[in-house]
Subunit: 366 residues, 2 copies
Amino acid sequence: MSIFLVDEYKEMEPYVPGEQPKDKLYIKLNANETSMPPSPKVFEALSKKEIWNMGFYADPHCRDFRRAIADVYGLTEDEVFVGNGADEVLSFILMSFFRRGMKIYFPDITYGFYRTYAKTYGLDMEEIPVREDLSVNIDDYMDLKGDIVMANPNNPTGLSVSVDDIERLVAKNPERMVIIDEAYVDYSGETCLPLVERYPNLVVVRTFSKSRNMAGMHVGFAVASKEIVADLNSIKFSFNPFNMNSLTMAAGIAAVKDTYYFDKCVKSTIENRENFKAELEKLGFEVIPSKANFVFCKSDAIDSKILCDKLKEEGILTRHFADERLKDHLRITIGTEYEMMVVLIAIKEILEEARENDKSGIKKVI
Amino acid sequence: MSIFLVDEYKEMEPYVPGEQPKDKLYIKLNANETSMPPSPKVFEALSKKEIWNMGFYADPHCRDFRRAIADVYGLTEDEVFVGNGADEVLSFILMSFFRRGMKIYFPDITYGFYRTYAKTYGLDMEEIPVREDLSVNIDDYMDLKGDIVMANPNNPTGLSVSVDDIERLVAKNPERMVIIDEAYVDYSGETCLPLVERYPNLVVVRTFSKSRNMAGMHVGFAVASKEIVADLNSIKFSFNPFNMNSLTMAAGIAAVKDTYYFDKCVKSTIENRENFKAELEKLGFEVIPSKANFVFCKSDAIDSKILCDKLKEEGILTRHFADERLKDHLRITIGTEYEMMVVLIAIKEILEEARENDKSGIKKVI
């Protein structure tokens, strides 16, 4: 720490991204990437001419990109704010509408970034416990005295709250901002986007990292009232006016316009998820019904941490959380059909080994 | 403005980027872009394989990119912080080391973003007047009670303070942070980078937007002590952990490694600048000796605003500033040899027209 860091940040807790080992090649099912390439239109958009064009500043208002998103979702450009990932978009939202000491609520089991941001920037956060089955009870949020951020579907459970429930929440609390992080919504089929037109206290955040197969490009956007988007742009123009570069926007525009490829990829991920869930259940796993591109599962036959480690030995990365309420489960991202086939083979082998050899740490033989 | 915007920001003054008209094709000499494409290595780096790879998250620690920069400048990776443009890097610096009410000093004539940031985030800014000849007098900064940010070479004058002067400043004030924004330094030949090893209160900010011909990619970096860089990374990991995407870093790595192309482009811009200056002087212009990729000039024969407008009619964009102390001058970016040839023809024609036709607004006939 330098002598110059301001006091407020001396207790900060920066976000710790999941492990990304590079020691050998892995099947990556630990970070909710899709294992699919971006749209062929993205490959075409990143032409030699577009690369040449990087000598000139990109449009800081990001008009073409915002219009492309607006067109696809039946919105107007001034209801769309774009950024370098949903995290940047969320940070601009929190920076614009929250100050030190202000109350913010979110589920105690959810995406870790909300806690990081709240702690670093001194928000008065309160984590609302999820139910025993890890689901969010919307009634717990109805009469709070501050704003709310909620991932829907939630991570790492894959569970979602219905749009009707979200509507009840925003309708009952017109003076509280409700931020719904819809990173995984395309695998759920039920979005809050149509509510934005009616409820000026609702902000919906989206990402290109999942259903657009563009995690490495880190592109996100928010949909909200014109007034909220104007505020976000004012903050952006004071923090980093040219936040999005020309290549990122060219890729984003091409991706969002290609609804055919998008639908195809989402459909295939949902199919793979449902097949994988059925196969896991045949092997005795308990699998939370997921609305996302991952499953959260557990087996009485093997400790989840051991399963995670053994899969890693086989070159397959999955994500185990040490948190007391999550440690019995394992989160497995849904990759391609072939990847899920290979993971199943590995899991079967590991379970058989466990059955034959009840070593220490292996809880029980089926 | 929404009802949710926090009070502190209600008086904010977002940065207003220079005009970027798209009504027709222009020779763009208004935004200090270089009119040259990025390195051929950048074209190669943005391969189909690299585009495919955008399905997976990029390294949030940006290690390969930071190492590539460190190698070129004889630094270590932990002395380098990277971001989406020098503006984002500056914002992370100001966010980390300044809080509301803290004193910040900068010249009254300089890059407008410092003022924007300071006003929006409530810093107690004090603008130190430049000399009559628009140069910065370093002695004005020796005994101040706060931190300093300074563009060197300065914009829009192109004038620079010597490294010896900067060293006197940082040596005399070990407890004050001095941020030197070296956006244009590659056209000057004199950098503060070697001072960073000796002075832990010095932060040097650089950009790929000028000498790397990558304005549209908006890539920037800071060089400072390991402690300062660690603080910046902590703030970044709390604000937007994955700030830089995979394609941007691939392009950045390729660009910074290609020192041959870099040297060639910088040399050509300096040659074009000196030739253009000499030609302008032959036409009776007064041209401030520039250490940047632009010239700041004026002529008694024509009002600078009128010259700017007439050049625009000819399809050439330049930048006129309305500020009282700058309004007599015109800033012309140095483009390619051919662009400068065409601008000179246009200026000659406009001056001849002025000579023949002393209409209203044209101040004087040569």
